[in-house]
C-alpha cells in the first residue's frame, strides 16, 4: 500500500473534535471517535443527530469547520484522493444508477476503480453471485425491489475491496427478512477484515453487528463503549404483558412483587405491564406468578431497549455531571428523551 500512510495505526478511523455547523444548526459539535481496525463501530442516534454528517465528513463529501479526522491513516482534509481509494460508502438511499442493469452498474464502478475490462467484468459477476443478484443482473436496477437495490449498493461498495466501509442506516426502510440478509452480508465483510462504521437508529441493529457503540445527539457524543457496557447502563430486556382484563393491571404488578419479581410498571392507558428482565429465569417466574394469581394473559413478548429508552437512560445518567444552566445541554433531565426525538424527526 501507499508509503506515506501511517504504517501501524491501530485505529482505522480516528475523529478528533470535528465540528460542522450549518448556520445555527450544529450538525457536529466536537465529535471524537476511534474505530479499531477490523471492528464494527455502531453510531447510534435519532434523526438529525449528525450521523449522516459524520459519514459525509469521513467520506470527503463535506469539509469539517474544525477538528481533524483520519481514515486508514489518511487525513480527510489533506489527503482526500488517497482516502477515497480505501473507502466504500453505502448510503441511506441506494447510490446506484437506476437506468443501468445491476451488472452494468458494477462494471462501471470497476472501471472507475481502474480495474481492467476483464477484471471489472469478473469482479462484477462474482459480486452479483455473492449477493444473489445473478438472475436479475441484466435487468435495469429501477425494477429491483428495495432489498435487491440495497444489496446491489453493498456490492458496489465492495468492488474495490475497501478497507473501511461506511454503512449509513443500511436497513432503514427494509422488511425484516431483507434486513437479515443485509446483516449477514455485513458480517461476512467484517469476517474478510473490513472495518465498518455503521450508523443506525436501531439498538437491535447495533447489538447484532457492532462490538462498540457511540451514541450521538445534537452533534455530540453522549455515550460510548462496548455493547455490554451500554446495556449495563440502559438495562436489559423488558417483558411486555397484555392482560385479558386491563383493570387487573395493578393487582398483577402487586402479585409479581409478592412473588419476588420487582420493578413491574402498569400502564393503564396502553393496557400493558412492563417487567424488567435480568435473566431468563425471571420469565418463568413471571408466568408462574401470574398463573398462580389466576390472571388471563392475552399476549406477551420481550423487547430490547428502544433508542428512546437508551436515550432516557444515557442522558438521565449524565444529568448529574453536566451544567444544569445550559438550556441546550442534551442531558437536561427535565426534557424527556421521547419528546426530544420527536423534535428531531420534525
Amino acid at each position: 500500500m501507499a508509503m506515506n500512510r501511517i504504517a501501524d495505526t491501530t485505529n482505522a478511523v480516528e475523529v478528533h473534535g470535528v465540528v460542522k455547523h450549518y448556520g445555527e444548526t450544529k450538525a457536529l459539535d466536537g465529535v471524537d471517535l476511534a474505530v479499531p481496525q477490523g471492528t464494527v463501530m455502531g453510531v447510534l442516534g435519532p434523526n438529525g443527530a449528525g450521523k449522516t454528517t459524520l459519514v459525509r465528513v469521513l467520506s470527503t463529501l463535506i469539509r469539517p469547520d474544525a477538528g481533524s479526522a483520519f481514515v486508514a491513516g489518511y487525513d480527510v482534509l489533506r489527503q482526500p484522493r488517497q482516502l477515497r481509494r480505501v473507502i466504500g460508502l453505502t448510503g441511506q438511499y441506494a447510490s446506484v444508477d437506476e437506468a443501468l442493469s445491476g451488472r452494468e452498474n458494477l462494471y462501471m464502478i470497476g472501471r472507475l476503480l481502474d480495474l481492467s475490462r476483464r477484471a471489472a467484468r469478473l469482479r462484477a459477476d462474482e459480486l452479483l453471485e455473492r449477493f444473489s443478484l445473478t438472475e436479475a443482473a441484466g435487468r435495469a436496477a429501477k425494477g429491483y425491489s428495495g432489498g435487491m437495490r440495497r444489496r446491489l449498493d453493498l456490492a458496489a461498495s465492495m468492488i474495490g475491496a475497501p478497507r473501511v466501509l461506511y454503512l449509513d442506516e443500511p436497513t432503514t426502510g427494509l422488511d425484516p427478512r431483507t434486513r437479515n440478509e443485509v446483516w449477514d452480508e455485513v458480517q461476512r465483510m467484517v469476517g474478510d477484515g473490513t472495518t465498518v462504521l455503521l450508523t443506525t437508529q436501531y439498538m437491535e441493529e447495533a447489538e447484532n453487528l457492532a462490538e462498540s457503540v457511540t451514541v450521538i445527539d445534537r452533534g455530540r457524543v453522549i455515550a460510548g463503549g462496548s455493547i455490554a457496557e451500554l446495556k449495563a447502563k440502559v438495562g436489559g430486556r423488558t417483558l411486555h404483558v397484555r392482560p385479558v382484563v386491563v383493570a387487573e393491571l395493578p393487582s398483577m404488578a402487586q402479585a409479581l412483587d409478592e412473588y419476588g419479581v420487582h420493578g413491574a410498571t402498569a400502564d393503564q392507558a396502553a393496557g400493558l405491564l412492563s417487567v424488567p428482565i435480568a435473566d431468563d429465569g425471571q420469565l418463568t417466574s413471571v408466568v408462574r406468578a401470574l398463573g398462580a394469581g389466576g390472571f388471563g394473559i392475552a399476549h406477551m413478548d420481550t423487547h430490547l431497549p428502544s433508542l428512546d429508552e437508551v436515550f432516557l437512560a444515557v442522558t438521565g445518567q449524565r444529568a448529574g455531571g453536566t451544567d444544569p444552566t445550559d438550556p441546550t445541554d442534551p442531558a437536561d433531565p427535565t426534557d424527556p428523551a421521547g419528546t426530544k426525538i420527536e423534535e428531531f424527526a420534525a
Binding site: M1, A2, M3, N4, S59, T60, L61, I62, Q79, P80, R81, Q82, R84, R85, I87, L89, G91, Q92, Y93, A94, S95, V96, D97, E98, A99, L100, E104, M108, I109, R111, L112, L113, D114, L115, A119, L122, R123, E126, L127, E129, R130, F131, S132, A140, D153, A156, M158, I159, G160, A161, E181, D184, E185, R188, D192
Partner: protein, 272 residues
C-alpha cells in the same frame, strides 16, 4: 446469499493519489458509457435531438419563409445556418435539468467518494452532449438538403460551420450544467433556461434579418453571440466575409467555457 469467495482485487496504487491522464480518460469513457446507456434505457430523451430539427425546419420554412424572404428557397438559405447555431442551445438545455435530477439519487455521492477526478463526471456529460448535437445537426442538414439547401461554398466550409456551432454548443453545455448544479430543482433549471433561451434565440439574426428591428433590439442582436454564430454559419454556407464573426464566436465559446466550466466543477464538488 451464496458462499462464493472473491478473487483478490489488483488495483494500481499511487501513493500520491494523483490521477494520470490515461486513468482520467478511462474514467471519462466509463462515465460517458453510463450516459449512453441511460439514453438507451430512455429513448424518449433523444426526441429533442431527433425531432426538433425536423419540426423547426418545416415550421419556420413554411410559416415565415414567404413573409421574411419572399420565397421558401431563399429563406432556407437564410435560416438553416441559423438553426445550426440554435441546435447546440436547445440540446444543452436538457443537460442541466438532467444533472440536477442525478443529484436526487445517491449516485453522484458515490462518484464523489471514488478516486476519480471530479471533473470527469461533467466532462463525460459534455462528450455525450456533443454526440447528441452531431446527431441533431446531421438530421437538420439532411432535412435541409431534402428541402433544397444549396451549399454555395465547399463541403469543407459546411464542416467548419458545424464545428463552430459545436464549439459554441459545448460552452453552453457547461453553462447549463452550472445552472443545473446551482439551483434546487430540475423544474427551476428548465424555467430559468427557457427565460434565457427565448430572448437569445429570437433576439438574434437566426430567424430574420435584424435591419427591420427597432434600434434597441438591433443593438441587442449585435452583442448576442448567437447572432454572430448564425452570421458565421450563414456566410460559411452561402459565401461572404466570415473572419470577423468566426473569431467573435470562438472568443465567446472559449470565454464562456473558461468561466462556467471551473465554476461548474466547483459547484459539483460542493453540492450537497
Amino acid at each position: 446469499m451464496s458462499a462464493i469467495t472473491l478473487s483478490p482485487v489488483e488495483r494500481p496504487d499511487d501513493a500520491e493519489g494523483r490521477i494520470g491522464l490515461r486513468a482520467n480518460l478511462r474514467h471519462i469513457g466509463a462515465l460517458a458509457r453510463r450516459n449512453l446507456m441511460q439514453i438507451k434505457a430512455d429513448p424518449e430523451s433523444m426526441f429533442d435531438a431527433l425531432l426538433m430539427p425536423i419540426i423547426f425546419t418545416l415550421l419556420f420554412v413554411y410559416v415565415f419563409g414567404g413573409a421574411v424572404s419572399g420565397s421558401q428557397h431563399e429563406y432556407i438559405q437564410y435560416m438553416i445556418p441559423g438553426l445550426m447555431a440554435m441546435m447546440g442551445m436547445n440540446i444543452a438545455m436538457s443537460v442541466g435539468s438532467g444533472i440536477n435530477s442525478d443529484f436526487k439519487t445517491g449516485v453522484m455521492d458515490r462518484f464523489r467518494t471514488m478516486p476519480i477526478a471530479r471533473s470527469s463526471v461533467l466532462v463525460a456529460k459534455v462528450v455525450v452532449e456533443m454526440g447528441r448535437m452531431m446527431v441533431a445537426t446531421t438530421i437538420l442538414l439532411a432535412m435541409a438538403f431534402v428541402l433544397g439547401l444549396d451549399v454555395r461554398t465547399t463541403p469543407l466550409h459546411l464542416l467548419a460551420a458545424v464545428a463552430l456551432a459545436l464549439a459554441f454548443g459545448a460552452s453552453l453545455v457547461w453553462t447549463s450544467m452550472l445552472l443545473g448544479l446551482a439551483v434546487n430543482s430540475p423544474q427551476a433549471v428548465q424555467g430559468i433556461g427557457m427565460l434565457v433561451l427565448m430572448p437569445l434565440q429570437f433576439g438574434s439574426s437566426i430567424f430574420a434579418p435584424t435591419s427591420t428591428m427597432p434600434g434597441w433590439l438591433e443593438s441587442f442582436t449585435k452583442i448576442n453571440p448567437l447572432s454572430n454564430l448564425a452570421d458565421a454559419c450563414r456566410n460559411l454556407v452561402n459565401g461572404g466575409p466570415v473572419a470577423h464573426s468566426v473569431w467573435i464566436t470562438l472568443a465567446w465559446s472559449i470565454g464562456i467555457t473558461a468561466v462556467t466550466a471551473p465554476l461548474a466543477v466547483m459547484r459539483f464538488r460542493k453540492k450537497t
